[in-house]
């Protein structure tokens, strides 16, 4: 009888120890777990906006919609081909980012997209030669004014066409940040100008790692 009481007490004690240890570990794990977002400049967490329906035309005259964002990490930059300074600089940096990721086998589901804020002048043909120059893998989007609005409004893009200085010659003020959209179509990051290749890569990999841990 006394033996049975000792056994029961030992069992309860063992349960208590296991419970406490499990509690401490789970609390620790929870605190250090993936729910806590790392501090990354431009990282729009925990309330990223999901990109809704839009439709534009790529350089091959094919429709590019929100469906083409699914499953990709998409970098988007808005500009125009008549832009001599900021746009070539930014596309050059995006090319460097992409090539560096490729070199490190980290570009598998990454796509780079340039959206024209000057669709009147930037025809699909023009976009084709422009994108080819920077990187043949890049996507160039144009379309009607309404089609441009369908994505620009969602992402809060500003673009203002200035008055013509000569027939057909005008400048366009435009948002110069690079936007990052997750494979779940969430606007997850903003990289403000001036852009630095390594800084973008470092922040992107941290964000992708965090989101990957959330999903798993």
């Amino acid at each position: 009888m006394q033996n049975r009481v000792v056994k029961a007490s030992l069992f309860l004690l063992a349960c208590l120890v296991v419970g406490i240890v499990a509690g401490v570990f789970s609390t620790k794990y929870y605190r250090a777990g993936p729910a806590q977002a790392p501090e990354i400049t431009g990282f729009l967490w925990p309330n990223p906006k999901t990109i809704g329906p839009f439709g534009m035309i790529n350089q091959d005259n094919e429709l590019f919609s929100q469906k083409d964002l699914t499953g990709h990490w998409t970098f988007l930059f808005f500009g125009y081909t008549h832009c001599p300074d900021v746009c070539p600089i930014t596309l050059s940096v995006m090319d460097q980012v992409y090539r560096q990721l490729q070199k490190n086998n980290q570009a598998g589901n990454v796509q780079m997209v340039f959206v024209s804020v000057d669709p009147q002048r930037d025809t699909p043909d023009k976009m084709a030669s422009y994108m080819d120059y920077f990187n043949r893998d890049f996507v160039g989007l144009t379309g009607s004014q309404e089609q441009l609005e369908s994505i620009a409004r969602q992402m809060g893009i500003v673009y203002v066409h200035a008055d013509e200085s000569a027939p057909g010659e005008y400048l366009v003020d435009h948002t110069a940040s690079i936007f990052l959209v997750s494979p779940e179509k969430q606007l997850i990051g903003i990289f403000s100008a001036p852009h630095d290749k390594q800084d973008i890569i470092d922040r992107f990999l941290k964000i992708r790692n965090f989101i990957g841990n959330q999903a798993s």
């Binding site: 008549h82 460097q96 023009k126 500003v158 003020d173 110069a176």
Partner: protein
């Protein structure tokens, strides 16, 4: 009388030579553009070793229809370009046209320019000095350092 005229001409010539020597241009280059692009940007550094402020008032090239001075400015993440009538370079200082800031905007090239091409550019300053610069075309690999 004739002697005096030659004397004045010689002094003017000497003055211009002297003033020109006080301005130097470094690292003039043009960012190569994709095929069909009609607006390019050139960058360079102008050094004013003189004791007076000078202004760059005009740039010309036989390879472009026209050249303007512009500055890119960022306001709340929005880039806008503003035309400048002239560029001031204070005494004993330098001024840089550089990517993302001030640039020479080159309109309508006569032909497609490729990396390695050399473009002659004529710069006119407020003190009457005119300098001929050769700007090399190259593909800009811009690496910002922070």
């Amino acid at each position: 009388m004739c002697y005096l005229r030659y004397c004045v001409l010689f002094m003017l010539f000497s003055y211009t030579i002297g003033a020109a020597a006080e301005i130097s241009i470094n690292n003039a280059w043009i960012n190569e553009a994709p095929p069909g692009v009609k607006v390019l940007a050139a960058y360079m550094t102008i050094v004013n070793n003189g004791t007076e402020e000078i202004r760059l008032v005009k740039a010309d090239s036989n390879m472009f229809e026209k050249i303007e001075f512009h500055v890119t400015q960022m306001n709340d993440g929005v880039a806008s370009m503003h035309r400048q009538d002239s560029i001031s370079i204070p005494d004993r200082s330098s001024f840089s046209f550089s990517p993302g800031g001030y640039h020479l905007m080159l309109f309508n090239p006569g032909s497609q320019l490729r990396s390695g091409d050399i473009v002659p550019v004529e710069l006119t300053f407020s003190n009457g000095v005119i300098l001929q610069v050769e700007a090399g075309v190259r593909r800009g690999e811009i690496e910002h350092s922070h």
